[in-house]
């Protein structure tokens, strides 16, 4: 597979939703340890609404579809991470406004726009023990894949691996943002719940490619 259609992007969101659903309790537990414990609830609600909403969307502008998902996330899950993901999706959508299909090159641009959106809205950086720490290494992998001319499924297998590694590394980091920041040094030893979401998003995408090789 070299390009993704809108219909395939919709399927990918379906796969992400499934992974998030399966990990609801895991996310609650992670967030409860260093936050308010709602992440499992907000994320399942957010992706559930996105999947419902896009089913009814006949828009054939990839950018609009993805930005719309951001709006849905913002409305349904206006928590910290929901709002950051909403910002990310809206910025990513902007990049591919007018497109009907997207390839790895566009996906990397979208990823960078998303990461910049999160950084700006969250006033945060890679290394601050947030979702950025699983998203960023994954996007770096995709960027490499463009240069190495890899196929989408191979690229996303690597990206998922990088996201997973990134998530694991958050365990030894110190939280700098959100509720977890109140724990300071005490946050060491607890992996970040938002980074887990970043990893699960890439797991969902990976699952899509596993099923559609």
């Amino acid at each position: 597979m070299e390009k993704l259609t809108i219909s395939e992007v919709k399927q990918i969101f379906g796969e992400i939703k499934k992974v998030i659903d399966d990990n609801k309790e895991f996310l609650i537990k992670l967030d409860a340890a260093m936050g308010d414990g709602d992440l499992g609830l907000t994320m399942t609600a957010g992706f559930d609404a996105i999947v419902k909403e896009i089913k009814n969307t006949s828009d054939n502008d990839m950018g609009n579809v993805i930005a719309k998902m951001g709006m849905v996330m913002s409305n349904v899950a206006p928590s910290t991470l929901g709002t950051l993901l909403a910002t990310a999706m809206m910025r990513a959508g902007k990049i591919v406004k007018g497109y009907a299909e997207i390839g790895l090159k566009e996906i990397v641009d979208m990823g960078n726009a998303a990461i910049n959106g999160i950084k700006q809205r969250g006033k945060s950086e890679v290394g601050d023990k947030t979702i950025l720490d699983s998203l960023y290494p994954a996007i770096v992998e995709l960027d490499k894949a463009v240069k190495d001319n890899l196929t989408l499924d191979v690229a996303f297998e690597k990206a998922f691996k990088a996201a997973k590694e990134g998530f694991k590394k958050t365990e030894s980091m110190v939280s700098k943002h959100g509720r977890a920041a109140y724990y300071g040094e005490k946050s060491i030893g607890h992996p970040d719940s938002g980074a887990a979401v970043g990893m699960l998003i890439f797991e969902g995408i990976y699952n899509f490619f596993s099923k559609n090789k």
């Binding site: 308010d36 206006p78 928590s79």
Partner: protein
């Protein structure tokens, strides 16, 4: 914790239906989803609009202070979760009389991001918006790092001062300025004795053993600065007051209003026992008490515990503090 609720998923909406059914003369909904509530007479002609918002589970904060002499509107989130930027925008549009809108809300990540998004959206619709972030909890970040602090019961004072000033038909800049002055002289700190339970989660957000308390804990169960054996009321108040007084610092000759706030399950009897000690400490410190408030002003559902807030006063703030207010949850004659 046992709750008097129906389906946990309907907790916030049913609460809102109850509030609107009880106070139709004071409140109305500015949107179909009931999450953008404004004064029944909004927008108030020639008045700066005051908006707030935040997660549910803290009544009277936030919605309870929408009414005459205080706020014009409130965006209502799920329990302990920010409302959406869209919901804030609905409030903004419904309360703007053309004089602009001031956002006053607590310093929590989700709220800040959503109010920032909402402000961008509102400016796009040509509504002038300014923002004030309340960050009064001295326990949540050390001195020098005041911007990182959480907002707790001090929200009440911010609403009261801003509301009274807006009622005088002052400009957006003036309302913002006096509220910032009030905040600059305001410090809070709390103690939690028991956790609370988010209805849809169904189990307590944290654990605290039977003979312990957590000094400095936040209203969502954010960790405090000291978890230890439960102390006496006098000792607890000593600790809170010492931290508050030293932080600003407040000094002999100052005049303050004191707010003793119950977090939900702590009886008013105990709040007055705490006030007794706070009063004595202020007297000893040569600080004059102007108008104490004792009761439930910012809660965490059924959490046991309390917080203390001091606000330094000058003649302008005293005048504004004394002005009447009439909201579903707070009346001052």
């Amino acid at each position: 914790m046992k709750k008097i609720i129906n389906n946990p998923d309907n907790f916030v909406n049913e609460m809102l239906e109850g509030i609107l059914a009880a106070h139709p003369d004071q409140l109305k909904s500015a949107s179909k989803d009931l999450r953008s509530i404004v004064r029944a007479d909004a927008p108030v002609k020639d008045k700066v609009g005051l908006a707030t918002g935040g997660g549910s589970g803290h009544l009277p904060v936030f919605l309870g202070y929408v009414g005459k002499g205080m706020l014009d509107g409130c965006a209502v989130g799920n329990v302990f979760a920010s409302p959406s930027a869209q919901q804030m925008l609905e409030v903004t549009k419904a309360i703007d009389s053309g004089k602009g809108v001031l956002y006053i809300y607590g310093n929590y990540g989700g709220d800040v991001m959503n109010f920032d998004m909402a402000a961008e959206m509102a400016e796009f619709e040509d509504i002038k918006v300014e923002s004030i972030v309340v960050a009064d909890d001295v326990a949540s970040a050390p001195k020098g790092n005041e911007k990182k602090r959480r907002g707790i019961a001090g929200l009440f004072y911010a609403y009261k001062i801003a509301g009274a000033c807006a009622d005088e038909l002052k400009s957006l800049e003036d309302v913002k300025k006096v509220t910032e002055k009030a905040l600059a002289g305001m410090r809070s700190m709390g103690v939690a004795l028991s956790p609370c339970t988010i209805p849809s989660v169904g189990k307590p957000t944290f654990e605290i053993s039977d003979d312990e308390m957590e000094i400095g804990m936040g209203i969502h169960g954010e960790p405090g600065i000291n978890k230890g054996k439960l102390k006496t009321a006098d000792e607890i108040v000593e600790i809170l007051m010492r931290n508050i007084l030293n932080d600003l610092p407040y000094k002999s000759g100052d005049e303050v209003s004191v707010l003793i706030n119950g977090l939900g399950a702590t009886p008013k009897e105990e709040l007055y026992i705490a006030y007794r000690k706070a009063h004595a400490i202020l007297r000893e410190s040569g600080i004059k008490i102007y108008h104490p408030y004792i009761g439930e002003f910012a809660t965490s559902m059924e959490m046991a515990g309390m917080s203390i807030t001091l606000m330094k006063l000058d003649e302008e703030l005293k005048f504004l503090l004394d002005k009447p207010a009439n909201t579903p949850f707070f009346v001052q004659a």
